[in-house]
Amino acid sequence: MSMWTLVVALVSALVVWYLLARQLMAQPWLADGEVGYTPDIEAFASPAKKVALFFLLAVISSLFALFFTAYMMRMNPAHGDDWLSIPKPDILWLNTVLLLASSMSMQWAKNLVNHQSGKSPLPALIIAGVFAISFLVGQLLAWQQLYNIGNLQISNPALGFFYLLTGVHGLHILGGLYVWARATIRVFMGITTPSINLSVELCTVYWHYLLVIWLVLFGLLLTT
Amino acid sequence: MALAVVIILLVIGSLLFHFLSPWWFTPVASNWSNIDSTVNITFWVTGVVFVLINLFLAYCVIRFRHTKERRAHYEPENKKLELWLIGITTIGVASMLAPGLFVWAKFVDVPADASVVEVLGRQWGWYFRYPGIDKQFGDTDVKHMSPANPFGLNPEDQAGQDDVLVYSSEMRLPVNQSVKILLRSTDVLHDFTVPQFRVKMDLVPGMVTYLWLTPTLTGEYEILCEELCGVAHYAMRSRVIVTEPDEFKSWLATQPTFAQTVTDGTGNAEQGGALYAVCAGCHGPEGKGNAAMNAPAIAGLDSWYVSAQLKNFKTGLRGTHQDDAYGKQMAQMAATLVNDAAIRDVAAHISTLAISPSEKTVSGDVDNGRSLYMTCASCHGKEGNGVWSIKAPRLNGLDDWYLVRQLHNFKNGLRGTHNSDAAGIQMARLAQILKSDQSINDVVAYIKTLK
């Protein structure tokens, strides 16, 4: 819990400091009759969807940080001394590579869109999606392998957490795939509006973010 | 305007209520009188703030109410005033926090000479354990728990052999001796509270928590559970008796050690069979009961329940009320069992008798009874088979007329009134949920349908 407290304290301190330094010291009653510029509109000159994604990632960070904290607290002997490390299926390494490849393909698609090269991002998008889906299939296989080992007790928190955390991460990938599918279909149908470029860009950010979460999660699973 | 007057009246009224109301702390019976001091300090500081802010509020409402002629004063902020207010507030907060932390430091720091007692909570009652001569507790584990070993002591652990086990609902403590109370739970969260001691702490399954205190006044105090622990939470009570040290020692000597309970065992059904001849006169050779003699069927009742009830009859915990004619009769019969071993043997014999269905004599609304029984099922089980760990006996297979009579006895104070009969008192509290005679018949009619 203390780690999460620290994270929240740091993040909120940074946000508050940022706002404080820029705006919160203003004495608004002095600027009577002036339009006054609205600096954050300039500062956040990014589209609303991008800002919303930023906040969504903050929410997801909070979610996973809390899961990780619960994980580590449960390992702590003060909260139970029955943690038995479980074997980690080797396929997880392959899955990591798949997710990395998916993320890179997304970046490729984003570069194509950004550079206005005229090339369609469609192949890059499809490859990224296929890699992501294979990642999910790989995760399911990992579950299958663990299940087949047979002599593992579900009351062992290490096993429970394995299913729980990989499952929650997988659900987030699925959610991303929904947005990806919408964008890909629209690209396939030949629509080229700025909003599609934005979708591709935001998908890319999300993909990288879930890759980072997976790497942290995988690290946590491997070391415990 | 009316608002201002009302606010002033509310302030005066609150002060009057504070000083005149009869509800205040129970007299403190432990060393924690300084907790009362921290409460009093907080009352004074917050009381002054409460009065000042609200009187100023009332003043503003009277003095600055709306008129067309006047304009409000324009003043966006006043740094100096705000800084002063922050400063004063900080001092006020510190004046409450500092004593609080000071006393907490004492609470956290258990005196080295404190003796140790364990309080074991369960749904919905309390057991107590004293460490014995070696001043050490034996290991425990949920997997060792059984009717014969409700504490879950590890039979292999030597440290546990001399642990003194208190099955009755009374805990005793010597006056003026510091005691560290270890808290353990077998099932869900509970909280050990004695209002007169001031301190309390949760019991958490899977871990041992603690608190410490020094009782300073002899007397009897109620133990309450103050963490919601299920349907009978409100009936999970017990007593702690603070006595002079000598009295405490002689009481402790009368309680069995774990080793003794193991040696005593659960009773010998064969020897019990011989003793049962006396019982058979009324309850019948197969324990089927005899309605004409007001003797209920007892065949197949769990031995832990039968021994407990026989002991209750014998020691005056049950069957003493002047209106409980049949109970008094049974008490006389129970007195013929010479010792605890005899009680255990006869109980063991009764538990081996086969249950046979009895006639239906009570009519009631089974559907309403089913809904009423939801509360009963929390202890006696959905099928009415009884749950030993809750000290709830089996209900199915019993005579319905007997159940009706006992529910009336519980409800009307004929049974379950003795302070040492915790399970009985609990049932008496729960019998109050049957708020009419009809509901008693309904629930019994439903119980009769259970197999």
Binding site: Q27, G33, G36, S195 | W24, Y74
Partner: protein, 587 residues
């Protein structure tokens, strides 16, 4: 005008006028309609919770009479009353209701930036309410574990509703969290992205500051509840042992081992304490605006008020374990959490001072919203001060789990926010409906609620000091609870039933307003903020007609020296007053 185009940009694609009845009032994407849908649902479900509390009070006062209230039902009422009031009424009404209505109007936006997601948010909320209510009709009934849902009892027999009831509760909470997250992302993004020209952060009304900060708290804190809900569902259905230690249940040892009930409590309160401020901060913000408008005076110390809101929000993440002083956690945590908890009292006290100082030298109109606002100050001072007892670890020892706690949190989290809610509804009702409510009815409603609630909760504190435990179905015979305490229980119940019934006045007043209310005009309170300056009352879809407003000043230009009227609207381009008024700020 290029600037306006930036602020308006996101609406170009998604801004369609609805044409049919269904698209206008049912599947509406208009923030004002969604606000009313949220508010109406919350009030309805709140009435259910009110009835539940009435039944609890009946049992406590007259334990021998009501045969349909048995311990199972009693604990189910306790649980559902608490959960509904905290989550499904207060959180939903402040953020889903007022957040939705006020953010676009007060910020000068045409709508939320994602109207479709906003609509989904409401429908998901409605689903969560339906799931919750359905638990009344499943075998075993709803969960009776207390609103804190502490394991292991929650999912073991012996607690009512430990099979279907608890699963539906957890599912409903998960759906609610999804609904809240969709709404919350909208609120935050709208505040940051869609404010009109000239609306700097420090020109925003405090209502927006309160709602914004509360939303950020909610976005970061609700995941903790989601995590604990998911883990508990796993424990219940799959047999994992996250929270479940080795226990004996109904005489049988279960397969669980090693889990930690305290871990759940940490997660729960890491959500649960910020939740208090998710409710309190919007109330703080809204009441500041009501006091300022009706006292015809700027809110005193605006900057300090903003900093206090942000500061309280940040601090609320480091005080959670003050709910766990006697939970059996490491007792050394007590020092840290008592200190942080009492520190949070300082910014809270500043807010109280500044409300009272706003009234000082004001020109106070004692209308219905103002009565509720001043009533709030009284109840909040009371509730806040009793919080200093429970937040201070030693003082908490004798008081925790007693009626003192009930008295405290109902004053601070029940009565106080509800005073603000009523004040706010009366304040904005003329804008929402275009009609004026009945002043006399409103005043009677205020007096019944204000005096009635104090009569309920003041005595509870003293029962708590006596040691009367909370969550008891019946007290029966007891050594230390005198008969006078039981008579007090009867008195409290009468007051509670009186308050409950008097809420009918509010509903009657709403109906009266809709049917008989006189047209209110666009700005009946002579307020400065943007929502009163819409071209239409009630505001139409898109809020602002053809042109977005442009803001020239802060939200609190009341009684500015030298100005013709005692208020200058935010869109008024005139230079207000003279240079002197600026100097006041430099003391």
């Amino acid at each position: 005008m290029a600037f306006v185009a930036i602020a308006d940009r996101d609406h170009e694609q998604e801004h369609h006028d609805p044409h049919t009845f269904v698209s206008k009032y049912i599947w509406s994407q208009d923030h004002k309609v969604i606000a009313i849908q949220y508010g109406g649902t919350a009030v309805l479900v709140g009435l259910v919770a009110l009835v539940l509390s009435g039944m609890m009070r009946l049992q406590l006062a007259f334990p021998d009479y009501f045969s349909f209230i048995r311990p199972n039902e009693y604990y189910q009422f306790v649980t559902m009353h608490g959960m509904i009031m905290v989550i499904y009424l207060l959180t939903a009404l402040f953020l889903g209701g007022f957040g939705n209505y006020l953010i676009p109007l007060m910020c000068g936006a045409r709508d939320m930036v994602f109207p479709y997601m906003n609509m989904l948010s409401f429908w998901a909320y409605l689903v969560s309410v339906i799931i919750l209510m359905s638990s009344f009709f499943v075998p075993g009934g709803p969960t009776g574990a207390g609103w804190t849902l502490y394991p292991p009892g929650t999912i073991l027999p012996g607690t009512p509703g430990s099979d279907m009831g608890i699963l539906l509760m957890l599912l409903s909470l998960a759906v609610f969290i999804v609904a809240f997250t969709m709404g919350g992302l909208n609120y935050v993004t709208t505040v940051f992205q869609a404010r009109c020209q000239g609306m700097t952060l420090m020109r925003m009304p405090l209502s927006i500051w309160g709602i914004l900060t509360a939303t950020v708290l909610g976005l970061l804190a609700f995941p903790a509840l989601l995590v604990s809900a998911i883990m508990m569902i796993f424990d219940k259905t799959l047999g994992t042992s996250f929270f479940m230690p080795a226990v004996l249940s109904m005489g049988q040892a279960l397969d669980h081992q090693g889990g930690s009930p305290i871990l759940f409590q940490h997660l729960f309160w890491f959500f649960g304490h910020p939740e208090v401020y998710i409710v309190a901060l919007p109330a703080f913000g809204i009441v500041s605006d009501l006091l300022s408008v009706h006292a015809r005076k700027n809110i005193f110390g605006y900057r300090m008020m903003v900093w206090a809101i942000v500061g309280i929000g940040a601090l609320s993440f480091v005080v959670w374990a003050h709910h766990m002083y006697v939970s059996g956690m490491n007792p050394y945590f007590g020092f840290f959490f008592a200190t942080t908890t009492l520190i949070i009292a300082i910014p809270t006290a500043i807010k109280v001072y500044n409300w009272v100082l706003t009234l000082w030298q004001g020109n106070i109109r004692l209308n219905v919203p103002m009565l509720f606002s001043i009533g709030f100050i009284f109840t909040f001072v009371h509730g806040g001060l009793t919080g200093l007892f429970l937040g201070n670890v030693t003082v908490d020892l004798p008081l925790s789990d007693t009626y003192f706690v009930i008295g405290h949190f109902h004053m601070v989290m029940g009565v106080s926010p509800i005073m603000v809610l009523f004040g706010a509804i009366y304040h904005w009702l003329p804008k929402i409906t275009g009609k004026m409510f009945n002043e006399t009815l409103g005043k009677i409603h205020f007096w019944c609620t204000f005096l009635g609630t104090y009569a309920i909760y003041l005595p509870m504190h003293y029962l708590g000091i006596l040691g009367v435990p909370r969550r008891y179905y019946a007290y029966g015979l007891s050594d230390f609870i005198p008969a006078s305490a039981q008579s007090m229980n009867v008195g409290i119940t009468i007051a509670a039933l009186f308050v409950g019934v008097s809420q009918l006045l509010f509903i009657i007043n709403i109906i009266w307003t809709l049917t008989k209310g006189k047209p209110a005009g666009s700005n009946p309170w002579e307020a400065t903020t943007l929502e009163w300056l819409t071209p239409d009352t009630p505001p139409k879809h898109g809020n602002w007609g053809h042109n977005l407003p442009v803001v020239y000043r802060w939200a609190y230009a009341y009684s500015v020296p030298g100005a013709a009227l005692d208020y200058i609207t935010q869109t008024d381009p005139q230079k207000g007053g003279d240079i002197e008024e600026g100097d006041h700020g430099k003391h």
